[in-house]
Subunit: 695 residues, 2 copies
Amino acid sequence: MNLNKLLKPKTIAIIGASDKAGFSGDTIRNYMKFSRNLDQLYFVNPKRDEVFGKKCYHSILDIECDIDLAIICTPQKTVIPLLREAAEKNCGGAVVFASGYGEVGAEGKAKQQELVEEADKLGIAVMGPNCAGFANFIDGIFAFAFLVEERDRKGNIGMISQSGQIVLAGLDSPNMGFSHVISSGNSCNVKVEDYLDFLVEDDDTKVVAAYIEGITKPAKLIETFRKAALKKKPIVILKTGRSSKSQELAASHTGSLSGSDKVLRAIFKRYGIVEAGDLEELCSLAAAFSWMRELPAGRRTVFMNVSGGEAGVSADLSEEYGIPLAEYKPETKAYLKSLLPEYGSVNNPFDMTAGIGYNTPVMVDAIKAISADENVDMICVAYTITPEIWDDTIAHMVEAVSIARQDKSIKPIVWLPFIEHTRHQGSADILKASGTPLLASGKYGCTAIRKILDFASFEYEDGGCAIPEKTAKTGSKGLSEYDSLCYLEKHGVVIPAQAVAATKEEAVEVAKTLGYPLSVKIHSAQIQHKSDVGGVKLNIKNDEELCQAFDIIMDNCKKNAPGAELSGVLLKPMLKTGAEMIIGINNDKDFGPTIMVGMGGVFVELFKDVQLAPVPLTRNQAVKMIEQLKAYPLLNGYRGNPVYDKDALADLLVSIAAMAAEGKDEIKELDINPVFVSEDGVAIADALLILKEEC
Amino acid sequence: MNLNKLLKPKTIAIIGASDKAGFSGDTIRNYMKFSRNLDQLYFVNPKRDEVFGKKCYHSILDIECDIDLAIICTPQKTVIPLLREAAEKNCGGAVVFASGYGEVGAEGKAKQQELVEEADKLGIAVMGPNCAGFANFIDGIFAFAFLVEERDRKGNIGMISQSGQIVLAGLDSPNMGFSHVISSGNSCNVKVEDYLDFLVEDDDTKVVAAYIEGITKPAKLIETFRKAALKKKPIVILKTGRSSKSQELAASHTGSLSGSDKVLRAIFKRYGIVEAGDLEELCSLAAAFSWMRELPAGRRTVFMNVSGGEAGVSADLSEEYGIPLAEYKPETKAYLKSLLPEYGSVNNPFDMTAGIGYNTPVMVDAIKAISADENVDMICVAYTITPEIWDDTIAHMVEAVSIARQDKSIKPIVWLPFIEHTRHQGSADILKASGTPLLASGKYGCTAIRKILDFASFEYEDGGCAIPEKTAKTGSKGLSEYDSLCYLEKHGVVIPAQAVAATKEEAVEVAKTLGYPLSVKIHSAQIQHKSDVGGVKLNIKNDEELCQAFDIIMDNCKKNAPGAELSGVLLKPMLKTGAEMIIGINNDKDFGPTIMVGMGGVFVELFKDVQLAPVPLTRNQAVKMIEQLKAYPLLNGYRGNPVYDKDALADLLVSIAAMAAEGKDEIKELDINPVFVSEDGVAIADALLILKEEC
């Protein structure tokens, strides 16, 4: 979908133009205040000849030229007729502020559907309905209906939000400068994903900031994320829906239906999307990326403080947020010591004392020395900036950063205030000019540092994705353990030896090949919880025990699972145990199969210690999933246990993920529980596969 | 220690008075700018006759009257002679700005010791050295050496900090108003604990805010905390030292040596101390308590938003920070619905829409209805306040809160901005006047709400404490399992039946009383890890097995623990297992014995899932420790397991804690690992007690 006529129009009509407060008057006020060019702007209102002293047409059809964009400020019932007229003027984009659509029940949803169909037919990209519009700060186009404080906001952040209020928060945020802001509202025919794609492609946009409530075009989203990852363009996303309450609210707000929130977060992780936890994070993270001249080459950070107390606070915060503290080389340490008064000492966090902090040239030298240290990747100058500069130290330090950064080889610097940030515009401006982000305070700032380090060190692996076809298959069919494992084997997954036997005699015959000791389980597609019905016997050592086991299992199952078709028993050599892991596949309706790994039992159930990722997996991605488990130490030689074969586990994950990607339109669910990981490899002990089926 | 002459002096001398920048000139500038009364202020400098146009004495001895407080701005070497002179004027307090003491190595420590001894001898309470001084906003006394922006800061927060910079942060923080600010620096003879006590006792102080690096008077601290808990006066503390790096920095900053950080945090928890994670939290939490007219009676909170997006963000934040969302009564819901436009719906978080948010009287009605709902304890109005009020909504909402709060029965309201807070002083002033805290933004604000709710619902139980005597006993002696258990039994702890036997024959005899099956373990004070040397045999079923076990154990131990004195074997009936817990006692050098409980194995080792508390314990405290374990569900009927006897476990904790409190000067360490908790009670399976001993 080409959004150029919508977002970068050459000619614009405001329909329903008036000077009264409300969508129309406020949009026009914004337009006239912020835009440098009103020549291509036309007003339309059948009842007015002039608005704000400018000619007003009675109909869009009266305008002499074609109109790229129609900003429709009139009520719901007028929208479709107006779109039809606009289409006659070759209109390709429209902003619809009116509400009463998808967000308000069945009738509204029907009206929205009607609007979508008409817009698609007319070839008009509609922003909204139920939105606050957009502002394009690059070309000076203002279709934004909420009045804002007057100041220059041009910059390189492209912001898109399903909530107009949240766009307003961005516009209020003093450190954010924008290429585009877009309040997409119900996102009826132009979807959030389309705007994201526009911003990722847009060369005026360095950073994308987004507030989203729901996803409707998963394949488009993935493609956009992939483009951004390849360009290393940061996308910062605030996605509500971590709590069930916020999922509920999103449905009533813009009619968005969230898919699985966890799956979306796994997608974010795969593509290096920077997730913001709330509005302050969204705004301050986007601003930080926007101001940074370059990303750090590694993670090792030095904190420069001017007080022992604040150095202590910095130390605790750095540990809490996982910001690795750099170790100086001895020569750096010696040089810094030479800059300090006698009572000072060189640490990281570094209490520079008044000796350095109150003295611009000395601080410049200190920054240069720290930056030159090959053990250092980034510097964080940590000091509160007051609304008025009463404390000269601030001025000295800001100046020192600015002077040091004139040398383009100086490593990235960020500035962390301890209490409220951005309170002195002059200092902020100097830092911005030097490519030094002024972070939000304390915990927010350290969260930002951590996320900047994560983004900078993220290496995208272009391993493809597995978005399923939209399918009519809403039914499902569970396979027996034997059939599940056969399916796995057929699709490239290594499984332990197994065989089925319909009779005792067959069992004894099969045992000759498999070798004792054996596990014996009921073989039936209808029995999924085999132990519960007495369908499992373990550690069978000889023919006699085997025959007994066969009889007992059959008797138990006849009794306890009367409806089930019993096809005999499944025989497997007893497996070497070790750690009991579980591996699962779930096929998300939007993003396709995801693979889950965790350690069985309380680790998964109580501590929710699982890793989730979309399929397929590269080997490296599989290794990271394993290493990021909290229970990982248990695999790695815990308390005298052997080091288990994590490589084999990673290989297994890769092969299962590949199978799931290939089977994206067929596999509904897979539950491998447990798989044993020992020092000698992995062995799947049980598996349940559920395939999609026509209903 | 009486601090009145130091902190509330009637006559003050500034020694080394001058008009130059630095301690003296800046202190005088602050004094003259902020104080309403200069009549009792005297300047002293042997080289000056006048400073800032005011008479300057050549010596403190020349002043006509007694001097309560000497503010000493001169270098280190002059301090002791000046204190001696001051003492002749009946001086009872001194501020010493000079550094070069305890914070800079052995020589400095010696100088500090000399200063302490002299001050104690002269009866002068010394603030500092290496400090920034104090300001008493109630009486207008300013002995503070860092220049600050000019504005009224009088209020009801008493702040004490070992870092002058952090006091400065408080003074910079726009929502904080102070009774006293104290930069105590090295806290040489007047300790942090003394200042805390002063502020807890002080009627002008409603909230205490403290930054501390180390504790030196634990008994005083406990007594102060106890007083505050009984008065329900909030103490907000920022204590660095969560990371080892910050512990290291504190040592070099003010020479503070931290005891165990975890123990101090357990003490905080016991007394309802509000812990701040960083500076922004310290400042904004103290400000919130300072502004609140009353504490909420319960935890159930309603969020009032003016946007679906922000309501979603509020929902996620409330879940993340554990803020329980109130459920409206049906009549409240119906009434709120009647205030909304058709498209609105009543939720919590509540998107009020323009219908309520843009209309002051309607919002007042909404607040009143929500406040009147008996299911609601607190209201959080969540909206960003911009530096200039361009968006009328802010003004409407602030006004509505202010009008509603004129009714004193309206429940507590807090205001949560989504991005930077306190940016429009007029709005802040209105909220403050109505007793409505303007919180820090987003996550900080929600942290504050959570901590306010925790503080409000905290019920102090005055169960006493067990600070040990300072002791010369630096040695220790480990007891055998048998002797450890006998010690426990003697001190009121219920233990399972046990007996020792020196010979096989004795063992067989003893077995008759205990009954099979039995566990048999080596009995030796020198062998602590009995399994490691082959000193344990379990599930012994008869006399024959017992005799065999006896021989094997003796042989193993002779071979594997050649130095140990073998006193025979310890016999116990096999215990009923269940959950394996561990219970420990550690005797902190400052705060005495603490008791720890956790579930054995990976829960303790990998997930650090333990609860720690000072002793003694009330039954209620013991129950809470158990319930706050992450592994608690495992005790409570997990996956078909029986519900284990948590009451018996709580009783056991209470009895062990009582024993530890009584033995605070004798017990060094106790390690009970494991104790079995089953549906039938608890049973200690192994115990190792270490007692203090003369070296």
